[in-house]
Every structure is written in structure tokens, then in C-alpha cells.
Amino acid sequence: MPTVQSDVHSLLPALLVFVPTGAGILIFLLRRLSWTREALAFLASLFCLAISIAASISTLKGQCLIALGHQLIIDSLAALLVLLVSAVSFLVVLYCPRYMRHLVRDAAIPHSTTESRLTIFYGWLMLFIATMLWACLSNNIIMLYVAVEASTIASGLLVAFYWDRRALEAGYKYLMLLTVGITFALFGCVLVYATGSSVLGGSKGLLISELRKVAASFPSTTVALASAFLIVGFGTKAGIAPFHPWLPDAHAEAPTPVSALLSGVMLKVAVYAMIRTVTLFYPSFPPVATFVLALGVFTMILGDLMALAQDDLKRMLAYSSVSQMGYVLLGVGLGTSLGTYAGLFHVVNHALAKSLLFLAAGAVMYSSGVRTLSEMGGLAKKMPVTSFCFFIGALALSGVPPLNGFQSKLALFVAGAEAGAWWAVILGIVTSLITLVVLVRAAKNIFWGKMPESISVSTREAPASVCLAMLILAVLCLAIGIYPQAIYSPLEKAAGSVQTIFTATADTVAKH
């Protein structure tokens, strides 16, 4: 059922991009005033969160916010993503101050002082958040590519933040692989634009909202080529196998708050870009959906099998993200409205649970100084809050009720069964057991059993701000699991604005 949306000109979309960008630039300009960094970052992210909430409320009323002459729009799908990005970013910024100061002091990064490193961190962090928000808002297909690429560049320095051999290698790999990968998306976008503009004429062919109306008239070879480019391009950024090899390195080497953002929201932004562009062709060319589905199932299984073999806590979490993105694609690739709903539902749940896991992993590393699973143990007594949060995150992702992951996985499986994709459902159900083994075994290794002697007895619970950020996420995981109806209407509206393979296109309607 296509919902009737009224276009409303608004400042909000532009503010969402400019405020964090401005904050980032200010942080660099005011680098001598060390107290401004954290304050600016906090205020900017709080402001973004407030705007996103306001924007979500307007889209729930059926409005579609547009700015800069249709260049930026917030429809219900964008609103969902923007809300997710700004909420997780806010919590990460809340988590950062104590964590980063402690970390930068210990890391002893060459040729720089603590203060200058912190300026770099917060400055780029704000720019990174701004580019992610921009990618969510862009209605211009070429600028969508630009925004996604910009978020790669903005986070590149964050990934290589520690400036040691491993971090530099990870940062290099991150920039190279993603830039090469995402170039495919540029080919796809240009192809779509070129074909679209011949129908629409001029710059209108740049706007996704316009392209949507004419996508059915594209020749099928163009569609096949363009969607292959788009899927490979944005799929690389989303960590879809076999284009994922950058992901474990980047997630493992980046400072933990950045890992949480990379895994928690950046992957979702990439999937969002893919949903925006690829689903344009669903109604006229359903095999695209099948391709997405197959890729999703492959990713889901491969990611978890790789995660099973990891001994590094953060690498394990990174591979698990790969796997969960596979679940999201499974939903999106079904091409039905329930499938899209379930995919988006899982996007939300994974964003919450995985950020929680990364933040908790960061807290463990902060307090104990260890990141190898086999060298950990017995930390529950020392760090009860972190332990609680990690277990909640692990169980949520494994799809254990009454946590949120259960609800979205159930929706995914039902959607798969109703679409007749039983093979995907069975593999999905089996994979969720592997997820459980991976994550719960890790949680058990870290928090239960005997504490190895290598960990100092004076290990303490993480600072209050760190615990607060984690607890908010844990409570959200639990709350959505117990009362999933609470987020029904935003998700339903968002899913409704995505085309499915059953959406009647203007073309087919005309034929009837």
C-alpha cells in the first residue's frame, strides 16, 4: 500500500548535515581550548538526536521533509536510519571522553601529544557522523555515492588512529579496498543516471525519487549491469561476503568507539544506500532480488563460520557483524514487504546489540588491557555491569527471547517461509545456533570461570559514563524484545516506502 506523502520544505535535513560538520570544523579550529572538544561533540550529537526525533515524528504524520531543492529528503526510511545513526552516535560520544583519554595516554602515539590526538579524534568523529547522516539524506544518486565515499575517507584516519604498524595496515587496507569497491557503485550510479536522464531529461535524472517512477522502463541489460555494480559497490561497504576482507581488520584495529560506529551504523548506511538504489529495479526485474538473497545467505553463513575461528575479541565481533548483515540482506532480498520490514527491523536490532557488544568489549579491554579471548576469564566478579551488558548483547544477537534479535529473526523466517524461500529459512535458523555458540562462548570465556594471573587483580568496573552508555543500549535491546510493537509504525512506514517485487510500477499500471 503506497502511503500518500506530502512534501514539506524544511530546514531539518540541512541542519542534520551542517551541525556535525560545523562541530567537526570548530573542534579543529579551537584545538587550543581542550575543554571545547568533548563539549562540542556532545552538544552536536545531542542536537542531531533531537532533530532526528523531530524529523521522525513528522514522517510518522505522513510528511516528507525536503531541503535544498529535493537534494536532501527525509522520508520515513531515511528518518529511521537518521534516528538510528544519531542515537548510536550520541551514545558513542557519551562513552568516549573517559575511554579515549585513558587510551591515548597509554598508547603513546609517536610524534604527537595527547591533546593533538584527541583533537584529531573528535574532529574526524564529528565529520564521520556528518557524512553518514548526509548519505542517509541524499536524494541525488551521484551525491549518494559521494557521501558514502566521504564517510570512508572521514573514518580512514580514525581506523588508523593508533598509528602503529597494525593500525596503519588496517587503515590502508580499509581505504584502498573500500575506495576500489565503492567505485563500482559509482559506475552503477552513473549508469542509472545516464539511462534515467534520457527519459527524464537533464538533472531530474539525478534524483532517486524521480528515477523511481521510470525505473521500469530501463532495458533489462542495463538493469542487470547497473544493479550488479550497485550491489558490489555498496555491498563492499556493507561488508557483504565475498567483499568483506577489509572489515575485520578495520573493526579490530580502530579505537573501540569507532568500531562501534563502523559496525553499528556505518554498515547500515551502506545497506541503506543499496536498498535505495537496488530496489528501484525490484518491480521490473525480480531476479535482482534473488541475487541479493543468495548473497545474503552466503554472507550470513560465512561470517559466522569465520567468527567461530577467531580468538581476538574484536575480530570475532567484526565477523559476527558480517554474518548479521547477511541476515539483513536475506530480508531485503526476499523482495516482499514483510521481508523488507524484517530486514529493517534487524538493521535496528543489530545496530543496538552490536554497538552494545563493541562498547562492552571496549570496557573489558579498558579495564583488563587484554583483547585475546583465550587470555581472559572470570571478569564478571570485577565488572558486573559490563558482564550483564555483554551477555544481553550476545543473547540478543543470537535471537534468544525475550530480546530484540528474536523478534526480528522470527519476522525474517516467517517472511522467508511466506516467500517460499525455505532453503534460506533453514540456513538462517541453523546459522542462529552458530551465532549463539560464537557469542555465548565468548561471553563465557571473558566473564566466567577462573581469572588468569595475567590480568591484574586491581581490575575495576569501567567508569560511570561508559556504563551508562552500555546500560541504555542494553535496556533498549530488552525493551524492544519485550514490546516490539513500540517500533512497529516507524518500521512499517519505512518498509512501505521501499519498493518490493510486487509493487505495481507506473508502467504496468498503464498497461492494465
Binding site: A342, A417, L433, E492
Partner: protein, 482 residues
Amino acid sequence: MHAMVAAVIGVPIAGAVLCLAVRDKASKYIAVLATAVAAAYASAIAAAQSKVTVVFGGLPWLGEGAAKALFGYQVDPLASIMLLAATIIGLVTAIYSFGYVSVGNREHSTSSGQARYFFWLMLFVASMCGIALSPNLLQLLIFWEMTTLCSWALISFYDNEESLKAGMKALIMTSFGGLFFIGGLVWVFSATKSMGFDALALMTPTARAWAFVLFLIAAWAKSAQLPFHTWLPDAMAAPTPISAYLHAASMVKAGVFLVARLLLAGWHLPYDAALLLVVAALVTMFSALYFYFFQSDAKRLLAFSTIAQLGYIMLGLGIGSMGADLATRGAVLHILMHAFAKTLLFLSIGVVAYTQGTRELTKLSGLAAKAPVAAFGFFVGAFALSGVPPLPCFWSKLYMLSGALQLKGSFGPVILVLVMLESLATFGWFLYVGQRIFYGKPANEDPCGIPLSMNAILIALILATILVPIAGIPIAAQIVGL
């Protein structure tokens, strides 16, 4: 009814949350209080003898059928039986743990962690009540997975190598079974747009049989039936009161409860599937019996006896689905009867382990003089379990066998003979084991300090075990089969 149902699930959950908030010392009082309230309300629900199904809401994205009728409760005789078992045994466990989970315990001296222990125990009680009251497959699945979590956490409670391993094993094996549950649920829902227990009626007989087999596999894993039985003996690494609760009234009972719920939903199970149920139950019973003779650990022996007794329940349900109502009633009654008998056995062995610091049969002897209550409890439990009249399991087995004899052909007599054989062997072996533990020359002269709370609850439980048929039989008699 709303309030009573809310209390029976809500009070233990509130107790669990409260346990996290207070210190270790206060947690046990909260636990006893919360389970006592739950048990009182459960008894009230059972006494009301009503049959109601109420639904409040659903998951709107799953479509029309699921939008309204997914979450609520269902009260009927089967739910009452399960509720009584879950809450009363929960209360007994909580009171017993009062003394057991303490520094005085010679097997596992425990000085901290009581809050965690009682948190999971409360959550366990609440989840079991949730299972009992679930009006459809989805809600049952949610509580089902919660019991898996609770048992995993409680089996791992001692936090040593052995118990952590056993906990993971239980979690993985029962979650593996859970996959089949989810698979079956998704199948049934996509085929019928309903998650009710009676949705299977809308499927074709072949599809129905296969869907039932999916649920059956889930139930086998949960109820530790062959070939998924191996997690249960390992789960003996749990504290003994937890083992008692796990075996008698929760976790494993959830599996047979699911099968009973499905079979009583008013649809006909194809004969082949019923036969599979019966044969698998018999195989489980006799394999478990075979393992009795090689157990040197008293608790592992009880674990195999649980496996066999759950086989009985499956057997009764299988015979019932072939058309003998009496056997279904017997099976449901056995859920409650076995709960009391098995708890009594476990708690008696728990006293032995508490005072002697070991459960090895070779190291125990002559304890009757030191722990007379435990000795008496063990023998009453053993008699009750093997079906000595007029103790609990006699009645349930009587129902089941009468049911079997109602069937046409030679099937009934064969089952009669097999059940008699199994019961006799159990009787003989338990007498032998009891005699070894409690009679003969004492292994040592150490004095036994048994906490008053443990002895008192044992005495109460012995009385309850003797009297429970009076409460159970009238409820089971109301169960109308297929």
C-alpha cells in the same frame, strides 16, 4: 483470573529483579516469599477448575492472523498440573536452597553468589509458569527459550571447568532442539496463518505429521530423550536443588508439556507419528534403564531415571494419541507425580552430599543413623517412583496401562509387560542403591550438621508426596482427549 495469572508469572519475575538489587543475604528471603506467593496463586488457579483462553495482542507485522491473537493466557487442567508442579517444587527448591547454598555445604561451600542463584531460580519459576499458561506456540517458544537460558546459567553456577562445560553443552543441545521448534512454528504459521496449538488441524495429514515430528524433536532435546539425552547427566554439575528443579518440575518437563499441549488441541495425529512417539519412548526407557547399572554417582543415576520417567510420559501420550484417553490422563498425571517423587529423591541425595561432601556410591554407607530423614525420604521417593501403591506414580502408571489395554490388538499387553519389567528393575535397583547408601557400616564417624530448613522441608515433601495423588487425580480426570 487476570490478576491471578499476572501474579503467578509477575511475582517471581519481580522477585528475580529484586534479588539483583539486594545483597546476597536478603535474596533467599525474597525467593522464598515470591515462590510461596506464586504457589498460592497457582493452587488457586488449579482449584478454580476453569477453562479460559484470553488473548490481548499480537505482532501486527505478521499479518491479520497474528495481529491480534498471540499473547495472552490459557487456563485448563493441563496448565493447572504444570503450574502446580512448577510453583510448588519451586517453593520447595527455594526453601531447601536456604540451607544448601551456604558455607556449611561440604560438597560445594558457597559464600557468595546467592543473589545470582536466586535470580535465575525465580526467572526459571516464572518461565515455567509462562510455558504452562501459553495460549499458542509462539508464546510457548518464548518462555521455552527462557527456560533454556535459566538452566544454562544455573548449571554453570559453580563456575568451575566442569560446570561451565556442562552448561554450554545443555545450552547448545537444547537450543539445537529449539531450532526445530522455530522451524515447525514458521512452517505451521506460513501454512495456516495461525500459531495456535490447533493450527495443525488445518494442515493436510502428511504435513501435520511432519510438522509434529519437528516439534517432537524439539521436545526430545528438551526432555533429554534419546538421542539427545547426553546433556542431562552432565548437567549434574549443577547445585543439587537446581538438579531437582530441572528434573522434576521444569526444563525437561517443558518438552513433554509441549507434546501434551499439541496432542490435546483437538486434532488427530496420524498413526505413524503416534507409533514413532511410542517406540522412541520405549527405546529411551530401556536405554536409560541399561545405564542405571553403570552409574557410580548417585545424581547421575537419578538423571538416567529422569530420562526413563519422561519416556513414560511420552509413552502415555503416544498411546493416548492412538485413541486411549486414559493413557493421556495418566501421562499428564505423571508430570505431577514424577515431579514430587523425583524432587524427594534429589533432595535426599542432596542432604547426603551436603554432609559427606561426595556423591560417589562407593564412598557412602551407613548414613541412616546420621540422616534418618534423608534415608526415609529416599526410600519413599524410590517407592513412589517405581509405582508402589498407593504412592504417586502408581496411579499415573495405572492410568497409562489401563489406557494401553483399551487399544485393540496385542499392542496393549506388550506395553504392559514392558512397563512392568521396567518398573520392577527400577524398584530393585533403587532398593539396592538405597541400602548401600543408608545401611551397613558407616564410612566415617564425622558428625552431620544438617540445617533445620533442609530437614523440615524434606519432612514436608515426604508428606506432600504421599498426599499429592489426592490433588492430582481429580485435575487429570478432567482432561478430555482427542
